[in-house]
């Protein structure tokens, strides 16, 4: 299987809804800015995504304070890129790991990204980030060469300080070099990256950067976002796929104190400042549904699935199955059947929405903050740039958080109620 076949397996309809306004974006930054594109553009081109930004989709910045920031739409869900990407950048740039900040998964701050899945952050983003780091390092060497009046070949860098290797002093820091400057580079070809033998930070065991927050309970996940006046939503769910709401009795729930019921056609939710009270309120709704007559049950579902399965597809073809069978010492021929398995990261799908005027801010446990933004914008009828999606730490994703209907639902709740709302899916 070609490694890039991954791309076809998931989220192929995930395309950007607008390109970042580069001129406005660049106004915001000073220091040294390296713009780059994640992954092999050829691969993306093959996926026929005409609206993919070909300009750049990640950047790094060395600020006047000497801090290095990497802005990317990738997210941290336990796979550890919050740490490993920072390691790559620090190593290529010759700065300490502590001076690198990763700004991730915020659609207002980070350029468009398709999403985080398929073990692709390290494979695609890693080399691009390292090349950008190497390019930035070259820029720093050029600046230092001018300032120290020393040829580049004679300069070395240690922890963000540049000096003449024959003299060791004077030293000039990245912060001093970038002060008052605005240098923009667009990484067009692969800069020369370090060889593994030169790595000082990569490949060395270090404590993950979010470990302390996570062992002390301070790490913020979406469900930990609490806003003034925020209420928790519980949504009335149908008992089966395709079930239709016939009638609903809200009398009991209407009697409950401080519970708000919102309704838009068959979308019904209850809101309360405590999620457990909202849960009780939900249980008091009496709803009648018409279930679709499928004629399917636990015994005939497998036959149905086989009959209706889409045409199979080969992703790799090698060897000869029949020959192999002849060579086998023992042949086991069995059919194994299993029930439906829900996708269950330990953190359930969660989102928080705050709507002010025609602007929405969404916190979501999402592997795809940018398509989450598109979906929310479409639901609310807002232009995408009026929706900001912020991705706190995810409590696991495993592909299951590539789709985020909970973000759309919570946006509806916030819109209908006029309050900030949090929604956590139950199991």
């Amino acid at each position: 299987m070609n490694n890039d076949d991954y791309l076809e397996l998931d989220f192929t309809d995930n395309i950007p809804d607008f390109q970042i306004n580069r001129r406005d974006f660049l106004k915001l930054t000073s220091g040294v800015l390296i713009l780059f594109t994640i992954g092999d553009k050829e691969v993306f081109a093959q996926q026929t995504r005409p609206s993919l930004p070909t300009d750049f989709n990640a950047f790094l910045r060395i600020g006047e304070d000497g801090r290095v920031s990497c802005y990317t739409g990738k997210i941290e869900m336990g796979q550890g890129v919050h740490t490993s990407l920072a390691q790559m950048l620090a190593d290529e740039l010759d700065v300490s790991l502590d001076s690198v900040d990763m700004v991730m998964g915020d659609t207002d701050l980070c350029p468009w990204d398709a999403g985080t899945w398929g073990s692709m952050s390290t494979r695609y983003f890693g080399p691009a980030l390292r090349a950008a780091g190497a390019e930035a390092r070259q820029v720093m060497l050029q600046l230092a060469s001018e300032q120290l009046k020393t040829p580049i070949e004679q300069l070395v860098i240690e922890q963000g300080e540049v000096f003449d290797k024959t003299r060791k002093a004077p030293r000039v820091t990245y912060a001093q070099l970038t002060k008052g400057k605005k240098i923009e580079r667009h990484l067009s070809q692969a800069a020369i990256k370090k060889m593994p033998s030169e790595f000082k930070i990569m490949g060395k065991p270090i404590t993950r950067r979010d470990a302390k927050e996570k062992v002390t309970g301070k790490a913020k996940y979406t469900g930990d976002i609490q806003l003034p006046g925020m209420v928790y939503a519980k949504i009335l769910r149908p008992p089966a796929h395709g079930a239709k709401l016939i009638d609903v009795d809200l009398l009991e729930v209407d009697k409950m104190k401080d519970v708000q019921v919102i309704r838009e056609r068959d979308f019904i939710a209850v809101l309360h400042k405590y999620p457990d009270v909202a849960e009780i309120a939900l249980s008091k709704i009496k709803a009648n549904y018409e279930r679709p007559q499928t004629g399917l049950d636990n015994t005939n579902i497998f036959e149905h699935l086989l009959k209706n399965a889409s045409e199979g597809k080969s992703v790799a073809k090698e060897g000869n199955l029949q020959e192999g069978e002849h060579l086998a010492a023992k042949i086991v021929d069995e059919t194994y059947l299993d029930g439906y398995k829900a996708h269950s990261p330990i953190e359930p799908h969660t989102a928080v929405a705050k709507i002010e005027g025609n602007k929405a801010t969404i916190w979501a446990s999402s592997q795809t903050p940018f398509s989450t933004r598109s979906e929310v914008a479409k639901e609310l009828g807002f232009p995408p740039e009026n929706v900001r999606v912020i991705t706190p730490f995810l409590g696991g994703g495993f592909g299951g958080k590539g789709r985020n209907p909970q973000a759309v639902e919570v946006a509806r709740c916030a819109h209908l109620s006029g309050k900030p709302v949090q929604l956590v899916w139950t199991r």
Binding site: M77, G78, Q79, G80, T207, R208, D210, A211, K212, E213, K214, V215, T216, G217, K218, A219, K220, Y221, G223, D224, Q226, K273, Y274, P275, D276, V277, S344, P345, I346, E347, P348, F393, L394, G395, G396, G397, F398, V424, T426, R427
Partner: protein, 158 residues
């Protein structure tokens, strides 16, 4: 039933007037703002909501407020002593015994309770003692040595 309930929370006395049938998980997360205690399943299966009640690990999503009346509740925010990490917290960091970190507070508090009963456990006793706390990422094999190391450092002391 609405009543006034007093208990100790992370070393401080707390008095609450609330429906005493409400589950401790939500009292901690919303009223008290202690979000280190996580909601995972709400049914007592996963252990993400584990807290200590009189040093015993309990599932806070299944523990009504009235059950902690006059007792001592400790959450992940309360096991540091004098701003020093607890040996379990240090060992989890050192052994990379976490990935997404969502199960971690519950893991640490369950390990705490387990080590009180069995201060010198074998690896297989640790596996048994931690079996009902779920992690989907795959930190299990690093959680075991983390607990072993913390047990050695603690030598039965907490």
């Amino acid at each position: 039933m609405e009543e006034t309930i007093q208990f100790k929370l992370n070393g401080k006395s707390v008095t609450l007037t609330a429906d005493s049938d409400r589950m401790l998980l939500w009292i901690l997360r919303t009223d008290q703002g202690l979000t280190g205690t996580k909601y995972g399943c709400g049914e007592g299966y996963c252990g993400a909501c584990t807290v200590l009640v009189n040093d015993e690990a309990v599932r806070s999503c299944q523990t009504p407020l009235k059950d902690v009346r006059g007792k001592e509740v400790v959450t992940i925010e309360g096991i540091e002593k004098n701003e020093t990490l607890h040996p379990l917290q240090k060992a989890f960091m050192k052994h990379d015994a976490l990935q997404c970190g969502y199960c971690t507070p519950g893991m640490i508090l369950n390990a705490y309770s387990f080590l009180r009963k069995n201060p010198k456990p074998t690896a297989s006793e640790i596996i048994q003692g931690m079996d009902n706390n779920l992690c989907r990422c795959g930190a299990h094999n690093r959680i075991i040595p983390a607990i072993e190391e913390a047990a050695k450092e603690m030598e039965g002391g907490f």
